[in-house]
Point group: C2
């Protein structure tokens, strides 16, 4: 038995998201488990750091998995990349301590959300950004972003119904950069609720287009009510960039 | 009657190339003619600067077309972009003198060919570069490129059988740039034969991987024989970047 840590990139456009549904479904996890189970000769479970929705991409999704026998990491990575679909790739693969678990040990995540602001669509990036098509007031969005940063109850920014689990998360930073064709949001936090990045983005877009004022944000947070926050930005603009772990856990 | 000049970008991945086949086929020209004919109320012919093959992209394909009535350029462009498929876009549209013809008046063209040299494929760029997957000797390729530049009979670099038409063309420049993941070739010439850029690229790749020597190039050119040149590089790496015209012709 050997535990492995895998870093993955994928174009989520043609998939029903990360998490397998029913038998396997057309999911990233399903594709990986089917292949690794065949290589292993017995069922392999691939644990991602978290789900990504249908149409959402990854440049640094991280997963852990246990194989019954020890594989040379390079050979296992090459074999995966030979047989995986062309829109999924294993960027790195290494042995991990037995207790390493990609979801349970994740300490932080970085997502980017790309918003196309050009009037003329970019045909080559159409699956990788939200074609908003109008300019946004980035200064106002930056002001709003500051009000969202920090440790808050993000229930208002979560599509799941309130339950027993805590909806408190810490957003370390929302960095907003701008080109003549695009506004890019980079979210760094210790964890994200279901749809949280996309609802934060939708809300920030509403600030950026003038339909919502920055001053509303503390009230939206305090309401703990999904209906108070902005629209759910579409999936294609979102990419999971990186999952952070304690070095201690990885080396123990 | 009013003549228009249109600059287009398209992702060629899902099309059978630029040129309509039979009735219209699944081609860029076919999509444009179907839409413009509907807007015009009578048959419109869209003349591209040249064909692009199936899977080849454009960031600056240029076409001319005559509408029976005068349209506001902005309105016509907007209408095209509303109804065209998401992977085709009109970047600019302007009135042109009656005699302007996108193919007959073209004075030069610029193509780029992108070669992925990284061992690990780029899932997001998979339709926009040739996933070669191994490093190339760019210094050798640059030496070879110099030998191809200039005015030559490029019959050896043309997939069409020799006929009465001249196969002499002038290649002003082949610029080769390199990143850690990619080699990019930029071809600037007064015109290109059928498959010429892709065969030049295949030949340069063979120089770059050591299977062919620079010194062979003058003999390949002199042979006027397709079999002497290198392989046909796949279409997905190729993009038509720009078509050049005399300012005089456009303003006459």
């Amino acid at each position: 038995m050997q535990n492995y840590k895998m870093i993955l990139a994928y174009d989520g456009s043609r998939y029903d998201g990360w998490q397998k549904q029913g038998n396997t479904g057309n999911t990233i996890q399903g594709k990986l488990e089917t292949l690794l189970t065949r290589l292993n000769g017995a069922k392999v479970e691939v644990n991602g750091s978290g789900r990504t929705d249908a149409g959402v991409h990854a440049k640094g999704q991280t997963a852990s998995l246990v194989m019954d026998t020890e594989w040379d990491c390079h050979v296992l990575q090459e074999t995966c990349n030979r047989y995986l679909p062309k829109d999924i790739v294993v960027l790195s693969l290494e042995q991990a301590p037995p207790r390493f678990h990609a979801r349970l040990n994740a300490k932080g995540k970085i997502y980017t959300y790309r918003i196309g602001t050009s009037h003329i669509r970019n045909v080559f990036e159409r699956n990788y950004l939200y074609d908003y098509g109008k300019p946004l007031d980035v200064a106002a969005m930056r002001q709003a972003a500051v009000l969202l940063t920090g440790t808050h109850d993000f229930q208002s920014f979560c599509s799941a119904k309130p339950g027993k689990k805590s909806t408190v998360r810490t957003l370390y930073d929302i960095a907003i950069t701008e080109t003549d064709r695009e506004v890019r949001l980079r979210f760094h936090g210790n964890g994200f609720l279901y749809h949280m990045v996309r609802i934060l983005t939708g809300t920030l877009i509403e600030v950026g287009n003038g339909s919502r004022r920055c001053e509303e944000l503390p009230d939206i947070l305090a309401a703990r009510d999904r209906k108070k926050a902005g629209f759910l930005a579409p999936p294609e603009g979102l990419t999971l960039m990186e999952v952070e772990y304690d070095q201690k856990i990885q080396n123990q």
